[in-house]
Point group: C2
Chain length 210, copies 2
Amino acid sequence: MKKTASAKRASSDRPSLTPADWEQAALELMAEKGVSALGVEPLARRLAITKGSFYWHFSGRDDLLARALARWENQDRYHLKLALSADMQPVERLSQFVWRTSRQTLTHRIYLALCASPRDALVGPVLRRVTSRRIKYLSAAFRELGLKTSSARQRANLVYSSYVGYLQLQAQGLVPDRDEPAFNDYVEHVIETLVDVARRAAELGEQHQH
Amino acid sequence: MKKTASAKRASSDRPSLTPADWEQAALELMAEKGVSALGVEPLARRLAITKGSFYWHFSGRDDLLARALARWENQDRYHLKLALSADMQPVERLSQFVWRTSRQTLTHRIYLALCASPRDALVGPVLRRVTSRRIKYLSAAFRELGLKTSSARQRANLVYSSYVGYLQLQAQGLVPDRDEPAFNDYVEHVIETLVDVARRAAELGEQHQH
DNA sequence: CAGCTTCCATACGGCAGAGTATGGGGTTAC
DNA sequence: GTAACCCCATACTCTGCCGTATGGAAGCTG
């Protein structure tokens, strides 16, 4: 039952931090205070430990940020792969995407934090890759729905823009929380406007083709 | 022709900075590097002057930020007032709002920077007020279009979310620039999806009422 | 038990920025 | 002309963080 190579100290009171622990704590700190708030000493204080530990695992602040971002990107890619492997109809997939926005999960809050620093040399590339992947996912779903390539991409951009904007309004506290009934109404409004209409339009196009 | 009370030094080479100069420079710096990058010494270097000048006009960094934000909020409120006073049909007003997104004007870039720091004690209240005002403007336009109060507010939230999200994608460089033809296509797609459909639905409701 | 590795604590030097103190040049007022 | 005021430069302290150097406790290894 050996977990990792660095969990050897079983008798001590504290189980010796792994790099993964530092990366996860870095992601949580960024989700709360933003990318610029990610520092070595603040993070060490948060973990009730000193810098001596950090600089044994990492070469510096940029190293930590890069590895934490890689960790997050892998998680996000894994989630997308799961969504793709699940055999659902396009409408279900799109609805699922919209509904998933509600969950104030850590992934979304980190994405929001990264959006706040798009010009960062380390954040920028990761952010662009993740965003592109997600938009491609949406675009494929709309194409399966029957839309042309250009229309599907435009609709995907629109849906994704409204997703990102909703995260922003959520951060400002100007939008109903997910436990309120008004939130369900809004999500249904979004699906009706951006998904169902496209489906009906596509069906209309099919009728014309027949 | 006395401009302000502090433009007295006419014979010297440099015309003596006013508080408005500092505030404007602060807004431009924030638009480029974000709210957290707004510091006294960096801004002084930017203006080729020393801190001694700054601390004569302002009590500190927070004072500058608060006054700069107030300045920006007034500008934004003025623009909204202009848009309201212009007698346009609701569809025109909504289209104008969408089209205005394209202009990479300073106001939009500052709004983007503020969105990145919604939890800041000074930024948060200003940001919420401005966002609420704009959404109310959109909601009123949709109500004039014939939508019910709840539907109009939902649609306004959706349009505004897509606006904010588009700013974000624009910052990531993942969206066509406004000089490319693809941009015009996209904007027309947005208007078609979020404005025209609402108009037709409202007309349909009117027909039912008749 | 001696020796090595792993992981962390402590202490230090260095830098960047905030805020303060003080003086000085230029302009206006009388 | 001189006194007062406006605006800015210079020099200073203080704080927070980075990165490094070094030692030490705990565990495994023979």
